[in-house]
Amino acid sequence: MWGIYLEQLLQSLPFFLKGLWMTVAVSGLSLLLGTAVGFLWGIVRASRRRILKALIGAWVDVIRGTPFLVQIFILFFILPEFGVHLEAFPAAVIALSNLAACFICEIVSSGIESVPHGQREAAVSSGLNGYQQLRHVILPQALRVILPPLVGQYVLLIKDSSVVSAIGVMDVTRAGWLTVQRIPQGILVFGLVGLLYFAICYPLIQISGALEKRLGRSSRR
């Protein structure tokens, strides 16, 4: 009995791999966008610009305080009421990038704050301008603290990307959900889905752990 189902499941393996590709595409794009925006916000948050800091802080709280599923429903169902029609894929990338940016912003700003104050003073008295201070003095040191949790954050991002299946993005989770209607063996179908996620996330978790050990200081919350 299980043999037949297993065979059917193996036949739909290309379908799952297509889903895996979609998962990688959504989370990869969001990873790039989220990292760029997150670094920018994090640098502003560690700076002395009061109003901008407060705005970013409030936004980060709103995003961290609400479920991602609700965020994506808001983006997907409410924007059309204002005449902005988004396909599922761009909506997923925007929501996921924003989520990533909010978490990365926190990681970056606490990384920058971990650099001893004397370093910045020394950079100022060496005559470096704001950008040079950041580029040559602060960020290279902050990166030691930022890197391990950043890789850990990418794992969370890939896992959170499963939620975009709820608005119809054809990722691995969605592929499993559609397949289980046809092959009624939840253990087999979602076992395969889990295995595919595991294949991506487990190595990343190991890398994050190794980085944490190598760069010394643990900075997990």
Binding site: L69, I74, S165, G186
Partner: protein, 222 residues
């Protein structure tokens, strides 16, 4: 935006939001209690020297951490019936939250135990305390204080994760938004109200986290 926002509908659906808020709180609390129990057991097994205890716990923790909650939820939701185990949606939902959060709890507890300075354990060993005595009187009292803030952080994650239970049609806050969308075609009112309620739970838990961090500093310095 605000002139089209229909507050009357929200008032009309207020009882629904009340029930759903309670449901979210109840589901998260059940998941939290369950995950504390599972987390303690999994952590005790993981730090054990016996391979028969160590490996199952390690496999459980790593496979939960490497897969999304939604996949785990569907695994149980579609998987248990296909094994011939009849379970209600509520049971599946709480079970998924418990198993998922339990793995993270186990790691938090392990971090707390390992953060106790090795010198303390050496001192306890040379005072002739047994393993259980060491754990009970030296390690655990210190570990509890250290693990409190990250456990509250995990509680925040749990509340947000419980939103996924709406996808197996459990009644909770996110489901209330979906109901307003399908019955009245008002997704803005529906989901923004849900989001506001989640946010209020978040701020309470965040305040508790800040408080526990401050208390922890007092404990260590005072």
């Amino acid at each position: 935006m605000l002139e089209t926002f229909n507050f009357r509908v929200i008032l009309e659906y207020l009882p629904l939001y009340g029930t759903c808020l309670l449901a979210t709180l109840w589901l998260s609390a059940a998941g939290l209690a369950g995950s504390l129990a599972v987390g303690c057991a999994a952590c005790a097994m993981r730090i054990s020297r016996f391979p028969a205890l160590h490996w199952p716990a390690a496999v459980y923790i790593e496979s939960i951490r490497s897969t999304p909650l939604l996949a785990q939820l569907y695994f149980l939701y579609f998987g248990l019936p296909s094994l011939g185990v009849p379970v209600s949606e509520t049971t599946v939902g709480i079970l998924a939250l418990t198993l998922n959060s339990g793995a993270y709890m186990a790691e938090i507890i392990r971090g707390g135990i390992q953060s106790v300075a090795p010198g303390q354990i050496e001192a306890a060993v040379s005072s002739g305390l047994s393993y259980l005595q060491r754990m009970r009187s030296i390690v655990l009292p210190q570990a509890v204080g250290i693990t409190l803030p990250p456990m509250l952080g995990q509680a925040i994650v749990l509340v947000k994760d419980s939103a996924l239970l709406s996808l197996i049609s459990l009644m909770e806050l996110t489901r209330a938004g979906q109901i307003l969308t399908s019955e009245r075609f008002m997704p803005a009112e529906g989901f923004l109200t849900s989001a506001a309620l989640y946010l209020s739970i978040y701020y309470v838990l965040k305040a508790l986290t800040v408080w526990s961090r401050k208390r922890l500093i007092h404990l260590h310095t005072g």
